[in-house]
Subunit: 190 residues, 2 copies
DNA sequence: TTGACACCACTCCATGTGTAGTACTACGTT
DNA sequence: AACGTAGTACTACACATGGAGTGGTGTCAA
């Protein structure tokens, strides 16, 4: 088992691209090697087996989907009212949609997790933490709404992104924009 | 190309199970043959190639996820108020969750459709029709809410089902129940 | 009798895992 | 400066699996 951390990270990030492009079953050591442009056999040296590869990707993918520090800092600025909330949600949807392959890879991982208990455990932990962090962040932010509205928005926006990324002709960009606004507005009405 | 329609349907339904269990890349002629318990080579005779298989499954899957006539008829009974709306949505979520493999197969198809234009066209058409039908049905039903509330509910409940089927430990059954109620209630507030 | 379909067998091909072995590089030691 | 060593990159190979596609034979019903 090799230890070079940069190389390991490069392999995992390559695996994310492979996942998005080829699907879960297409995530093979060979494909990761090719994507990362390293000699064949390298991934074999960094991951004990495919299960291990999936688990490590599951641990990494969420980091890459989360906003960076600067983005978080920026989100705290300005009045924290409903209009600002909607603005933040537009940014969220755009940011995640932009990292296309990351989100698709996460979907593949979710589906794969129905077959891999270890992966499921990793994903469950990460996502549960993220939801809780969102609720806590929201509570401290001064934005309108309660914890239920946070969760409802999480649900709604997730599927909106799925729709946009998998069947882009279902909703126009205009409709997506309006749906985000409506989701924010209505989720706040307790 | 063989024509026996019962056999074709049996193969397609077998393909749905394979999709849910093995993922999109695992959907092979061989696997379908095995699942349908027919001799190897049979699926080759019924589908020109894998692309054709995917497309035909895409045309079928939605039929199986839709409610049957009896269920639709029952949904028209009683007062059409918000409490009834919530009740119907609980039934919807439970019905779709129950046909576990069908919903997972549809997710696999969505992801696969990023790679297969024909499949994407079929799915886009079906889903667009379904959303429009839901909006029309809702408008005629006397249930509260507008077309935006229908779409928002569609989004929210879809991801709720994803969450339940792929990472069942994120939300408890109790929480899911409450989220459905909250989604109905809040989506109605224009 | 004939035609459509079920069934079976076989060829060809592609892909992937896991591992053993070799080459390289950097670093510490004397 | 020369040497040794350890860790890693790289290469090659043995072995196994799985699947597509097709041609041919059997079977049954009209």
């Amino acid at each position: 088992m090799r230890r070079n951390p940069e190389r390991r990270l490069a392999l995992i990030d390559a695996a994310i691209e492979v996942l998005a492009r080829e699907g879960a079953r297409g995530l093979t050591f060979r494909a990761v090697d090719a994507e990362a442009a390293v000699p064949p056999g390298t991934a074999s040296n960094y991951f004990a087996n495919r299960d291990d590869l999936f688990t490590q990707v599951g641990g990494r993918i969420y980091e890459r989907l989360l906003p960076d520090e600067a983005t978080i800092a920026r989100s705290r600025e300005g009045v924290q009212d409903q209009a600002r909330y909607a603005e933040l949600m537009h940014e969220l949807v755009d940011r995640i949609s932009a990292f296309n392959s990351g989100y698709l890879a996460l979907l593949e991982l979710r589906l794969e997790s129905t077959r891999r208990p270890e992966l499921r455990a990793v994903l469950t932990k990460r996502i549960r933490e993220d939801i809780d962090a969102n609720i806590a962040y929201h509570a401290a932010s001064g934005l309108p709404g309660d914890s239920t509205s946070v969760v409802l928005l999480y649900l709604t926006l997730n599927w909106l992104i799925v729709e946009r990324l998998t069947l882009p002709d279902i909703f126009t960009e205009q409709e997506i924009h309006e749906l985000v606004d409506a989701a924010v507005r209505r989720s706040l009405n307790a």
